[in-house]
Symmetry: C2
Subunit: 317 residues, 2 copies
């Protein structure tokens, strides 16, 4: 039996890997797709020629569907979209921008489109733009994040009640129990970022992967809300940002402090002090580096087990 989202995307399990800058290249995307989920290349950290190469390598490594995540504010966006169409990528996940810009164009080319949202208004806007599904991402998620700070537990049922297309839950999900939880909320599937960032196939720096494993309760915070809210591990760089706030630094000052290449420095080059380490609150529950296939298999197995066990345990009639 396959769910609606499995039919839509032609995948075996309703598990989508988050498209993450510096973590999700072709190795991770193809591994997730080969394991029965939807692997996603994160194009936000790629020049056009790199993206093209990554897509081509991904197609060689899997004959299953995969996706490219496209932040719509990316400067080379037109070139990215052209490459995606040219290379016949089956699914595109758009985020951080207006879903009206490319949805129709992509759909005309036979590409499925999903859009990441963090509130009801944008979910409805995305549905009106014609996307096939929305990814509802809660406050606990890593990386860039919504301004309303609505958590996954509150966001998913709200969005589900206001749109007619499938809703994927994202943020706070790293195992089968959390997957079971969001399915109970009405989600049609899950997107997991942090969990896949800490896999063998992730292109994150090994030091960053270890940092995810080490992260505990309260290790991350949402910051830089004036620029664009982002959830980071509280490292030296984060502390510098907080100090800047205390000293009343304005938005331009914050931008200067952030500078360029902070995320690459942290996540790809492994500079744990000066780099920006984007990860979700759920990192506190990630205790080992697994393969992508181990993550998919364990998540599905635990999800079904938890649903069965919880359904059996609760019988108050």
């Amino acid at each position: 039996m396959r769910s609606e989202i499995c039919e839509l995307l032609d995948i075996q399990y309703p598990i989508i890997q988050g498209g993450m800058i510096w973590c999700s290249g072709w190795e991770l995307a193809s591994a997730v797709s080969n394991a029965g989920g939807l692997g996603v290349i994160g194009s936000g950290s790629m020049y056009p020629e790199i993206l093209k190469e990554q897509i081509q390598k991904c197609k060689l490594a899997t004959n299953k569907p995969f996706a490219v995540n496209v932040p719509l504010l990316y400067p080379d966006i037109d070139t990215h979209i052209s490459i995606i169409i040219e290379e016949k990528v089956p699914v595109v996940i758009t985020s951080a921008g207006n879903p009206n810009t490319y949805t129709k164009h992509l759909k005309e080319k036979g590409i499925k489109v999903m859009h990441v949202i963090a509130n009801v208004k944008f979910a409805q806007k995305a549905e009106a733009a014609g996307v096939d599904a929305v990814i509802a991402e809660g406050f606990e998620a890593g990386g860039h994040n919504g301004r309303e700070e609505t958590t996954t537990l509150c966001l998913v049922p709200l969005v589900k009640s206001k749109v007619h297309i499938p809703v994927i839950a994202a943020g706070g999900i790293a195992n089968g129990a959390a997957m079971a939880a969001v399915l109970c909320l009405g989600a049609d599937g899950v997107q997991m970022g942090s969990r896949f960032a800490a896999t063998q196939e992730s292109s994150a720096h090994p030091q960053f992967k270890q940092e995810i494993v080490k992260a505990g309760d309260g290790a991350t915070a949402l910051t830089l809300k004036e620029i664009t809210p982002v959830r980071l591990i509280k490292n030296d760089f984060y502390n510098q940002v907080q100090k800047a706030y205390e000293q009343g630094l304005d938005t331009d000052g914050l931008r200067e402090l952030l500078g360029r290449g902070r995320a690459k420095k942290g996540m790809f080059e492994g500079d744990l002090q000066e780099g920006e380490l984007e990860i979700g609150q759920v990192s506190a529950q990630i205790d080992e580096i697994l393969t992508a296939k181990e993550v998919v298999d364990a998540t599905m197995k635990e999800c079904l087990k938890v649903l069965h066990k919880t359904n059996s345990a609760y019988n108050f009639e």
Copy 2:
């Protein structure tokens, strides 16, 4: 069949009503207990003589167990504790303070003790202090809140994995689907505040109840983090606080702006502009004023239905 927490508290359903200032007097507490959950008198807004009267009225209105919620930083705390013991209240829920102070004393008197926490460290501290259960309250919850900003979806499994006593999930739960979700996360029961604030038996001002019903997506925010983080409806008072932040007002200035009686003014007297309106993100999912019994019945019914339906729908073997 009854769960561990039902056995512990001698209640029918694992539903605990949040002890809320200005909303949860004896009418609400006794109604919830009579409906099979655990009703809770919120003592944080009561002088000792009022608390005594409320407990006595509650005992006349129900012969089922009920609780008193005690913020441990309350100035009259010793008198409160004496009254609770004298009146033989069966369960005490402590919050906002050190669980070592009263747990042993209360337990010696045969009173069950639960403690509200927002991180693993305090959950373990509460367990070590001898409490019977912890209430793990996430970032989405209304009113006073933890500094780590960990959401219910992330907090519950973490706490559950680190303590051996039952864990009640709180924050973001207003219906049976959310209850099913947190049971899948390993919670032993739920605490619902906002949902019960908007019941007929709640002592919240009718205008405040309507404001909860009207609240949508993004209607609340966590603010006043320098004093003690609190989630409020974004009304005129909230806007004054944000303006004060922009103008760089210090903590003393914020305290002065907050002043005294803001919560009473908003929640009890119905001043929706100048009052402090403490409520959770889940208010966006609350669309009508029900009786406490309707809430308990509908929540249990939906919870069991959702668990059954989700378990049946997902079968990928």
